[in-house]
Symmetry: C2
Subunit: 462 residues, 2 copies
């Protein structure tokens, strides 16, 4: 490795400032020496984000030792910043007392994330050690389904009655003891506690103080019920450019607030999931250990082994043909491979279109027809290219016609499979990102081998 220092220019650097290899080495030394005082001196100046970086970067066994030495001084704000698998590991190292204190210092949404990382035993201990009110709030949050708005929201928010004036709101904000750590809108509720709308703080600051708050508010056009899936929440925030939004319970009473920072993580996660799922990884496993990673990757590879074996049965149906014309074995992977790549292209565009809701039943057929045309067009060009190559290399022009025809058929099939399979899965409420990729390449493999070897059997076998 030539150079360990962060690159100095503006390119995304292979390093998180100000963490560098030298600093990491010094921390590891202090950990190995069990020197709590030296560790304390180095870790004290770190911001929560930097400390989180350190916990991610340091090898797992050193991390455990570091926490053992430093856990009394651990800033609870670090915990929500950790990757899920690292957080579970860190939580395991902490005592119930430390955890209870951390939970008490966090807002509901972060506290819930932390509770989720504990085993049931620890959860129970920590919950029972909390003050009654907080315990109830967390129990309620945990009663909502995973990945719902109810888990994502924080209880801390600012709501005002719809009859108030701007001045009343301003006075209340200034007088209130307990406020959310950060907020961008105040929510207007009626006498039943139902959320009517929201007023951004900048509007509150610029409106005449005598004006009725009701006149200033944006009406709640998109309601977020506690049970709404978090993906839907992310979509609404992105689409309407929201910075915070009220969450309501079954009886439409305002019960929580979701803020943009939680949603950014969701958007990041959704996009990441598409990427890793399409590539056959069930969840981001960067911080997982070897055994867990191997196990989670195994399933996908097993599915692939199965489809590859079935594909080999397609090829074996043409054993006699291959025996007579061995050059077919040399050329056949080309047709299958082009199909797989073209299918994956269409698939990626379809999966993204479905996730962003660009692809709907209103334009599904237009999309599939366009992709099929693209497939036919490129199929034609690649038929010419591979036909020329085959003809010139082997001097066998009938063979070059066969491989060209197989190429066109397979690229059209690839477009159809890449477009229709995710649409069908979406229809069946199966996440197309997880399962499409294996299906599409199976289709293009089968079709590629069967068309090429089938046409060869028909027209070339003497």
């Amino acid at each position: 490795m030539a150079d360990l220092t962060p690159t100095p220019d503006n390119q995304p650097a292979l390093s998180r400032a100000p963490m560098d290899a030298a600093f990491l080495a010094r921390v590891q030394e202090a950990v190995e020496a069990g020197d709590a005082a030296a560790l304390q001196r180095m870790l004290e100046p770190l911001e929560a984000e930097e400390f989180a970086d350190l916990l991610h970067l340091i090898p797992a066994d050193h991390r455990d030792d570091l926490l053992e030495l430093h856990k009394a001084q651990l800033d609870p704000d670090v915990l929500p910043l950790l990757d899920e698998s690292v957080r579970e590991d860190v939580v395991e190292q902490l005592d119930t007392k430390d955890l209870t204190q951390a939970i008490a210092n966090l807002e509901t949404d972060d506290a819930v994330e932390l509770i989720e990382a504990m085993d049931t035993e620890t959860q129970r201990e920590v919950l029972s050690a909390l003050p009654l009110e907080e315990r109830d709030a967390l129990r309620t949050a945990l009663s909502y389904p995973e990945d719902s708005a109810g888990r994502l929201m924080q209880r801390e928010l600012l709501a005002v009655p719809d009859g108030w004036s701007v001045q009343q709101c301003l006075d209340t904000i200034r007088a209130r003891r307990e406020l959310p750590e950060a907020f961008y809108d105040i929510f207007v509720v009626n006498q039943d506690g139902m959320a009517l709308g929201s007023v951004p703080l900048h509007r509150l600051l610029t409106a005449p103080t005598g004006q009725a708050i009701r006149e200033l508010m944006d009406e709640q056009s998109q309601r977020i019920p506690v049970l709404m899936p978090e993906k839907e929440v992310a979509y609404i925030f992105h689409r309407y450019g929201l910075v915070s939004a009220p969450v309501e319970d079954e009886s439409r009473r305002l019960v929580g607030m979701i803020t943009i920072d939680d949603v950014i993580d969701l958007i990041e996660d959704r996009a990441t999931e598409e990427l890793v799922h399409l590539s056959g990884v069930s969840e981001p496993d960067f911080y997982r250990d070897t055994i867990t990673t191997a196990r989670s990757r195994f399933t996908w590879l097993f599915v692939n082994l199965f489809t590859a074996i079935v594909t080999s049965r397609v090829i074996s149906a043409f054993e006699n043909t291959l025996q007579s014309i061995v050059v077919l074995a040399i050329l056949m992977p080309i047709v299958a491979s082009q199909g797989g790549n073209a299918g994956t292209q269409t698939l990626a565009v379809a999966v993204r279109g479905l996730a962003l809701r660009e692809l709907t039943w209103m334009n599904a057929w237009r999309f599939v027809a366009k992709e099929a045309s693209v497939g036919a067009l490129n199929g034609f060009f690649f038929a010419v290219l591979i036909g020329l190559f085959t003809g010139l290399w082997y001097g066998d022009w009938p063979l070059s016609l066969v491989i060209g025809a197989a190429m066109i058929i397979n690229l059209v099939m690839a477009a159809l499979a890449g477009g229709l399979i995710p649409l069908l899965l979406h229809r069946l409420k199966v996440d197309p990102a997880i399962s499409s990729s294996a299906l599409v390449t199976t289709v293009t493999d089968w079709c590629g081998y069967a068309c090429f070897l089938g046409l060869a059997t028909l027209f070339l076998l003497k």
Copy 2:
């Protein structure tokens, strides 16, 4: 197609509310009939987001006709919501007068996006029709490189001198005529106009009115210069949970503000790019026409054809072996395919790790070593599985040993290629998402065929 209505439950629906097929059909009817009044009645109640949806959903020729009938009433806020290729198409339909008015009504960041969608001729006309001050602002913005903070920022912001009290700030905000449409922080500047830090509005609202603004501000730990690449901006916003941030010029004077809504698009875009690049699509082409799409997909398929042909040369080196043992031709795609899939798994995790800066030179070797172990572990399991299958199906146990050995070697190779290639490309400042995928599958194809056929030649050929 069984059902055109949006699904009623909370699942992500294949439709953008309230747009539905019936509404779309009625709009298309009115467009075909050239009935501007009917169109006006239908489009009037739409919010900007919904109108943007409509322009995305309607077929391209109908879109042009719709704009022709409706362009006088077009809400400029629709334009920044459009996908790049649709925006270019819409801009082409509008007159210089309409465009100039739209630009005048937008904040700098949105105006710049709109200008970018025009051809140079129209750009010049529109710029010269604008008031001097706005023209200069836009010219300055356009002078920054594409995808830099300077293009992303808006000029409209709120800055106060560092000597002020909270009350002075509050009074100024209330008295100012021209304010940004939305803002979440006020920026504190010194007498040279340098940004010292920012104060979130909620803190301004809750602080004692006599307090010095300087004491309230978060100091500017992460500076954003105008030339910073937008990916870097997105990283800083995400990492530090920012909602808005000041941008400074070369002499560190405050010149603009970037807000979270722009950054969400960037995060979405980055993630999307990884997805489509890894799948061999150069840019999201959902809204592009057939010819443009086919052309943009061609390059990748061409690269793939080339590597597939080179791979076929590897196979042809073993022509004699294949001639003698035809079953090798049937089984060889299995080894190559498992390698390709395992390599893609590692690759996806590496590309994501690099993009999120989880993967750095500080843990690169640990990552590659872990992936190689995962490859060896799964290689062993799949060697047993494919060995058993081969032995039982063909009754040829030496062959099953050969395919098992090739499987182990190829899965370790796949892990090394999937881990090292993106690291190397990143080092060379090439985007690993664009180019890794072809390289990795080339390695696994070559290695898969060469190991399997090579071992077979050594040990099975009589």
